[in-house]
């Protein structure tokens, strides 16, 4: 089944499922999966830190990297995934052109993700982040395959 993950959303699937998310601009698209049991999840987080709007974070932790990432991992553990087998891949975190630091929300999303993973001793297997492109992500859980599309090109993550 094709499951669409919206902005500020996360979904878990298994085996034949495909998790899809569109228009990753400065948002983070994080794929985490356990290939042994064929269970995986996809998070599409919009902003780095929940402290900007704690009320929203409470209602929807997937909107923020610092609250969405732990929920994604916890949900996978609840579904039988084991930390030692997890494969973690990231996409998105783009930025507009030019050097204006005020608009580097993508960079901030990526930094918060790296900090969280580092604190929890988790290594990233692959990443396709930054730049000024918008990305669409298809994660075929059964094959453990992630396909990225951007600016008319297709590549594997």
């Amino acid at each position: 089944m094709n499951l669409t993950v919206l902005v500020g959303d996360l979904k878990i699937g298994a085996h034949d499922d495909t998790l899809v998310t569109h228009a990753l601009g400065s948002c983070l698209g994080l794929v985490v999966f356990d290939p042994v049991i064929g269970v995986g999840g996809l998070l599409h987080a919009m902003l780095p830190l929940s402290s900007i709007n704690p009320q929203k974070a409470e209602a929807n932790p997937a909107m923020f990297v610092d609250t969405g990432v732990p929920v994604l991992f916890r949900t996978l553990y609840d579904n039988g995934a084991q930390k030692s087998r997890l494969i973690v891949k990231a996409a998105g975190c783009g930025n507009p052109m030019g050097g204006d630091q005020v608009f580097k929300i993508g960079e901030r999303n990526y930094t918060v993700l790296k900090k969280l993973l580092w604190k929890n001793n988790i290594l990233m297997a692959a990443e396709d982040v930054g730049g000024s492109q918008s990305r669409t992500l298809h994660f075929h859980i059964g094959q453990g395959q992630i396909v990225l599309r951007s600016n008319g090109e297709k590549r594997l993550l």
């Binding site: 902005v7 783009g94 204006d100 901030r108």
Partner: protein
């Protein structure tokens, strides 16, 4: 047609410019009642009764207006049942904003192929930029939120016309982007004009206020407008923010450059942007549902509304 102060790049592509102008001339006008209301609200001493009289001729527009007036976004505590009541409770500026919102919705919910925007996505983007713009007005304590909302709503209307031409030039546009050009520079290079320029021409045709036309024309190049204008600056920033959070992002991706001059003169910070972004999605959902004929009534929506999140009460 209002011309840019600099020589238009359209002159480099005279044949295409003619075709695009022809499309512009057949571009649908707003309903007669809508245009008369927009003209009326600028007249001194206009009354709610006069406006109600004009709107009576367009029951569809009136029904949609009342539906919108009852949405939680506008935050009226009682159910609005008539145009007269809506004018009393919301004021003429809000009414203008709502008339444009209702009319633009029917034009902008179609797919825009050249820009790679599926059905509804340009409209969702337009609503998002409007909500984000009004959010920024609140965060930055600026004036004129209603007019800025309307300018933001229409900023990309030129894409509807230019999309048909862009569709045949996707490869040159992509190539220009890989060369490091901004998306509007690529449009200008390949088509001889930009969606911002064409959009401004549409607004001029509809006789909308000059400041609004200028905000649309320069929304990707605010520094070229000549003088600083908060309406333009806010639309520029709100548009960038909504593309970043993936609402209505198409072929252009993030191939746009925010102006550091605008950032500085508005005093906008990352915290402002993130606060506004965190509120935007909910309101886009709420407003687009309100304008959908199959949507539930205002009363039912009101129950789901969390008062402390209201953009005008923050």
């Amino acid at each position: 047609m209002i011309r840019a102060t600099e020589p238009s790049p359209r002159s480099r592509h005279p044949e295409r410019a003619g075709q695009i102008s022809a499309h512009l001339n057949c571009f649908p006008a707003m309903s007669g009642a809508a245009l008369r209301v927009l003209a009326l609200v600028n007249e001194p001493g206009v009354t709610a009764q006069q406006i109600e009289g004009v709107l009576r001729q367009d029951p569809g527009l009136t029904a949609n207006l009342l539906r919108l007036a009852n949405s939680a976004y506008f935050g009226i505590p009682t159910q609005v049942g008539s145009v007269r009541q809506a004018v009393m409770l919301l004021g003429l500026k809000r009414l203008t904003q709502m008339v444009v919102t209702v009319c633009a919705g029917s034009l902008m919910d179609r797919p825009v192929p050249g820009y790679d925007l599926p059905a509804g996505e340009l409209w969702r983007h337009s609503l998002a930029v409007s909500v984000a713009a009004e959010g920024l007005v609140g965060e930055l304590h600026l004036e004129g939120g209603e007019e800025i909302f309307t300018a933001a709503l229409l900023h990309d209307i030129g894409k509807i016309i230019l999309g048909q031409f862009l569709q045949d030039e996707i490869e040159p546009i992509r190539f220009a982007l890989t060369r490091g050009l901004s998306f509007t520079a690529a449009e200008s290079d390949v088509l001889g004009t930009t969606h911002a320029e064409i959009g401004a021409d549409v607004l001029a045709k509809w006789a909308l206020p000059k400041a609004m036309i200028r905000a649309v024309r320069w929304h990707h190049a605010p520094e070229e407008a000549g003088r600083p204008e908060p309406m333009l600056d806010v639309v520029h920033v709100a548009n960038m923010l909504c593309l970043m959070i993936g609402i209505g992002v198409g072929l252009d991706g993030l191939h746009h450059e925010p102006s550091p001059v605008v950032t500085r003169r508005l005093g906008v910070t990352t915290a402002h942007l993130e606060t506004v972004a965190s509120h935007t999605l909910q309101w886009v959902g709420e407003l687009s549902q309100m304008l959908d004929p199959g949507a539930p009534t205002g009363d039912r929506n009101r129950k789901a509304f969390n008062g402390s999140e209201h953009p005008h009460r923050r």
